[in-house]
């Protein structure tokens, strides 16, 4: 094999390289510096992440296509999801500084873990091959297992970490087994190659492909916490330090969605009789999973007394909404949804983190009684994030749901019922998202409330997420057109492309 046919281009993996190098740098700095290099480490992390953003922006000039013999791809899905992941990482880094100081936890490893996790997730989002999918997933997962148990003295955190590890490994096994079977059926592990093999009818054991795809669906389903594979989520989310919950509830989910989109809407979305059959089966399966996920997430969230558990179930529900968009194979609304969900969710967790105090003592909804006007900056921010999660305009949550519903209604005419199920679920969700607002603003103040201190970096993180929530809710045009490339590609089967509407 000739070397240039491998299409080596290091710019195509620049974001992953930068974040990994920054992580190694932090470990070195941490090893050689005295205790308390927290600010230096945070600075390095931020610089690394910002450079990665630049590198992601530069991906467009690298050119779309696959690199490293198909291991890595550059396409709008990757670019967009990479930005989402990096935004979450930046916000979490901003929050981590105060968290680590308040709880007197060692700062070095935490930032290194964030960076390694980010590198893994970026790789996952850019994976063009099942092997890279696995690689990225493992890097991201193992680091988040550790982060979940970062508060080592805390039994809940250790339990959370262990549960996350066991069930995560279980899910990975499913995924890996599925990959092996798909490889057996198609004799290739690249996503483009799988597509080609299916459409050209070169699959020798169709049953193997079907079972493999089903196992991979289960594996991905575990990772994005869709029902009925969601049972690990609430315990893990509740036990982990809130800031970690905010991180693992958003960024890894977005990254897995990117890989999920690549594998299913590109790999398993091929022509030919077998391809049609496979496509029909997975669309039906995901439609059912989506309906189940939304319903389970929302209905169980109704009865939660702990705000972290409530947000955990809400994150399950949101994965369900995103899956509604998934069935159309139109990546743009899903990508937009995951961006919006990540921003508003990490924002909400940031407020919860601040109000919970060190050691996550105050995470019951009852602890929030009457704080509304006592700490207006935090409570109004949380209220805005909750309204956004509930999908009330003019917040981003509404706009993202709107894009999902519109896309599903348009491109999946036989699945209109799913849109109706999603809307009914949105109605249910309003009730439990309103509840903390009721408690915060309409109830008398609970005794013993101490106003949390908000550090500058935390304030910056909150302001960023708030601006994002309103910006994407009121002026989504620019961001949507940034992912519009992929949208337009999927739009071919519809009567009128977006561009024509826009130019009218």
């Amino acid at each position: 094999m000739q070397l240039n046919s491998l299409n080596l281009n290091y710019w195509a993996i620049a974001p992953e390289v930068i974040t990994s190098v920054a992580a190694v740098l932090i470990m070195l700095v941490d090893a050689f510096s005295k205790k308390g290099a927290r600010k230096v480490n945070a600075g390095i992390t931020l610089v690394g992440l910002l450079l990665a953003v630049v590198a992601v922006a530069g991906l467009n000039s690298v050119g779309q296509g696959s690199y490293f013999s198909g291991m890595v791809v550059v396409d709008p899905i990757r670019v967009f999801f990479s930005v989402t992941i990096l935004i979450v990482s930046i916000v979490v880094t901003l929050l981590a500084s105060q968290f680590l100081r308040d709880e007197a936890l060692p700062p070095g490893e935490f930032f290194a873990l964030i960076l390694f996790a980010t590198a893994g997730m970026l790789l996952l989002a850019g994976a063009g091959d099942l092997v890279t999918v696995f690689l990225g997933l493992e890097i991201a997962s193992i680091t988040t297992y550790v982060m979940a148990g970062y508060r080592r003295y805390d039994a809940r955190a250790s339990e959370s970490s262990l549960k996350y590890f066991l069930l995560g490994s279980f899910a990975t096994a499913f995924l890996l087994y599925g990959m092996a079977l798909v490889y057996g059926a198609t004799r290739t592990t690249t996503i483009a190659g799988i597509n080609q093999a299916i459409s050209e009818g070169k699959v020798e054991f169709p049953a193997l492909l079907m079972v493999g795809a089903a196992l991979m669906l289960v594996g991905f389903g575990f990772k994005i916490a869709s029902a009925p594979f969601h049972l690990w989520t609430p315990d893990v989310y509740e036990g982990a330090p809130t800031i970690v919950t905010g991180f693992m509830g958003t960024a890894p989910k977005a990254a897995v969605f990117a890989a999920f989109l690549h594998v299913f809407t590109q790999g398993f979305n091929a022509g030919g009789p077998l391809g049609d059959q496979l496509h029909h089966v997975w669309v039906t399966a995901i439609a059912i999973i989506a309906a189940l996920t939304m319903t389970v997430g929302n209905v169980v969230a109704l009865s939660q007394k702990n705000i972290k558990r409530m947000l955990a179930y809400s994150s399950i529900a949101h994965a369900g909404y995103a899956l509604v968009g998934f069935i159309t194979s139109d990546a743009a609304p899903v990508a937009f949804y995951m961006l919006v969900y990540s921003i508003m969710s990490v924002g909400a967790f940031a407020v919860v983190q601040l109000l919970a105090r060190a050691g996550d003592q105050k995470t019951e909804t009852a602890d929030y009684a009457g704080i509304g006007f006592e700490t207006p900056a935090l409570s109004f921010a949380l209220a805005i994030f909750l309204f956004s999660l509930a999908g009330i305009p003019p917040t981003a949550g509404f706009m993202s749901k709107f894009f999902i519903f519109k896309s599903a209604w348009d491109l999946a005419p036989n699945l209109h019922w799913l849109v109706v199920v999603a809307v009914i679920n949105s109605i249910i969700s309003v009730y439990y998202y309103l509840y903390p607002i009721v408690v915060m603003f309409f109830r008398p103040l609970a005794p013993g409330f101490v106003k949390p201190r908000i550090s500058t970096m935390t304030a910056v993180a909150l302001i960023l997420t708030l601006i994002g929530t309103f910006y994407l809710g009121i002026l989504p045009n620019r961001v949507m057109s940034a992912i519009g490339h992929s949208a337009r590609m999927a739009q071919v089967q519809v009567g009128l492309p977006y561009s024509q509407v826009a130019n009218k």
Binding site: F387, P393, P394, N477, G484, G495
Partner: protein, 525 residues
């Protein structure tokens, strides 16, 4: 700048200014609170003046939307920032801007978190004006939802004892309706786009396309789904109106809301429902609307009589007024679904009249509540002696609400009954006769309340020394009373503006030919 855009966003700008204003020291809370009150009053008054300019520029003879602004907003969806006024919306916008300063005056006694209160009031005003001004479905939906949040907080934070229950009920009821409406909006967007090749949420454009579809026989929205879409819109608006049996959130919300909240709720928010029916249900789905008319009228008549009967037995004055709203809004829906010029004109007129009279009634109840902290009819009696001015003004308002000739309520109810009687809808005459019972019942419950509250011997010692209205209260009440009289004496001033738009809506439903012929068609179907 477009006048309507200014009117819509002026209160929001005011709200943002108030948010920023707080950053300054809060040593003297009392002075600061007064500053917030006067600032808000000034903003709402300026908004009212600007809205008067809209009225001055409005051309009564034009049936199309005027003072239009249309700017691309979300290009990929074909969403425009498209606002304008026509005969349906002009008076409702003015009603909103007129009631707001009065509501601010009515909130002068609020001492808890004055700044936040005023911010929510101003945001609410922007939302309400936006609903009536929007000519794009997407924009309409956003404003429709935006009104929810401030009202939710106004009830929840500044409301009465059961405020939490009332606030949640209000929010959840409305959201149930509006989210289903969202699905219908998306569906119409695609049906219209596929039929015409132009994907847009533009209300004017879609209305024209749908109507043209009836002329050419190529329906924009297939007949099979029209019923569902009609229902989705109708549910959202019926809940908002509220039409029996979707009314149960209303008494709770009204009773628990602060006085200003009740004034706005009754005066404006309920009209968003009836306005929506005229703006969407009738022009978009003429056939379904015709078929549904007898059923809707049945519900409306039940609402009229049921609301009046329940109002009659209320021991609480505010609840009585709340149920009278159910009854009066029943008239409005009846008039809309009569599909006659008089009926719809009457409905629009009744919306305004109800906004004025019921707003004034809530204001009146709030005035005695501020003094006695009770609203129970049994706690009063004979207060005409200590409060003669108050009694006079309240009596005029009550008489206008029950439809005494030469006051505003009479014009609306008379036109509605006339319009219903001549309506082509089956059994319309029966509905008109039954609805007329509601007029009588409204006289019963209002006059009975007046008798028990104002006249007779003073039974409670606390009531002997009640202070009459102060300058601020008079200032809030008198404009409403004056307007009630003006609307009763010179109705044409107001009716002229909506005439063309109403005829247009009627033609959308009934088609151009003479009503008699359409009636035959209807019976064949």
């Amino acid at each position: 700048m477009n006048l309507i855009t200014i009117t819509t966003f002026l209160p929001l700008i005011g709200a943002i200014l108030l948010v920023l204003l707080s950053l300054r020291g809060s040593e003297n809370q009392k002075a600061a609170n007064n500053l917030y009150r006067y600032a808000t009053l000034a903003i709402t008054l300026v908004t009212f003046v600007v809205s008067l300019l809209i009225l001055a520029k409005f051309d009564n003879g034009n049936k199309l939307a005027q003072l239009v602004q249309r700017t691309p907003w979300i290009g990929s969806l074909g969403v425009y920032y498209h606002v304008g006024v026509d005969g349906l919306s002009i008076w409702l916008i003015l009603l909103t801007t007129f009631l707001m300063p009065i509501s601010v005056l009515a909130s002068w006694h609020v001492t808890k978190r004055v700044r936040e209160y005023m911010i929510f009031m101003l945001v609410l005003e922007t939302g309400m004006i936006g609903v009536f001004a929007s000519l794009d479905m997407f924009l309409f939906y956003i404003f429709f939802e935006i009104t929810l949040i401030p009202m939710y907080f106004l009830i929840g934070v500044w409301g009465g004892e059961r405020r939490i229950y009332a606030a949640i009920k209000f929010f959840v009821y409305t959201v149930v309706g509006s989210l289903l409406m969202l699905v219908a909006i998306i569906a119409i967007y695609f049906y219209n786009g596929k039929a015409t090749g132009s994907y847009s949420f533009d209300i004017v454009e879609i209305t024209n396309n749908i109507q043209a579809g009836y002329q050419t026989g190529k329906l924009v929205i297939p007949g099979s789904v029209q019923t569902w879409l009609w229902l989705a819109f109708a549910l959202a608006f019926f809940i908002k109106v509220p039409l029996f049996p979707f009314h149960t959130w209303l008494p709770d919300a009204h009773v628990e809301a602060p006085t200003a909240g009740s004034i706005i709720l009754a005066g404006v928010l309920l009209k968003m429902g009836t306005y929506g029916l005229m703006r969407f249900n009738l022009p978009f789905f003429p056939e379904v609307s015709q078929k549904a008319a007898p059923w809707v009228m049945t519900l409306a008549v039940i609402g009229i009589i049921y609301g009046a009967l329940v109002a009659m037995v209320q021991p609480d004055m505010k609840k009585l007024v709340a149920y009278s709203s159910v009854s009066h809004l029943g008239f409005v829906v009846l008039g809309i679904f009569a599909f006659t010029d008089q009926g719809m004109q009457g409905a629009l007129y009744q919306m305004l009249a109800h906004g004025i009279s019921t707003g004034a009634l809530f204001l009146g109840v709030g005035i005695v509540y501020d003094r006695r902290h009770t609203r129970q009819i049994a706690d009063f009696g004979g207060i005409a002696t200590p409060m003669p001015q108050y009694t006079t003004l309240f009596l005029i308002v009550a008489l206008s609400s029950l439809g005494l000739p030469l006051l505003n309520g009479f014009i609306g109810e008379f036109l509605i009954l006339l319009g219903t009687f001549t309506s082509p809808v089956p059994h319309a005459k029966l509905f008109a006769v039954l609805a007329a019972l509601g007029v009588i019942l409204s006289a019963v419950y209002l006059l009975w309340m007046i008798q028990r509250v104002f006249f007779g011997e003073i039974t409670k010692k606390e009531n002997e020394e009640l202070k009459d209205m102060d300058g601020r209260e008079v200032l809030a009440m008198v404009p409403l009373v004056v307007l009630a009289i003006v609307m009763g004496v010179r109705p044409m001033v107001f009716l002229r503006g909506s005439e063309k738009a109403v005829t247009q809506v009627k033609e959308y439903v009934m088609g151009k030919p003479a009503p008699a012929k359409v009636a035959e068609n209807h019976q064949e179907r």
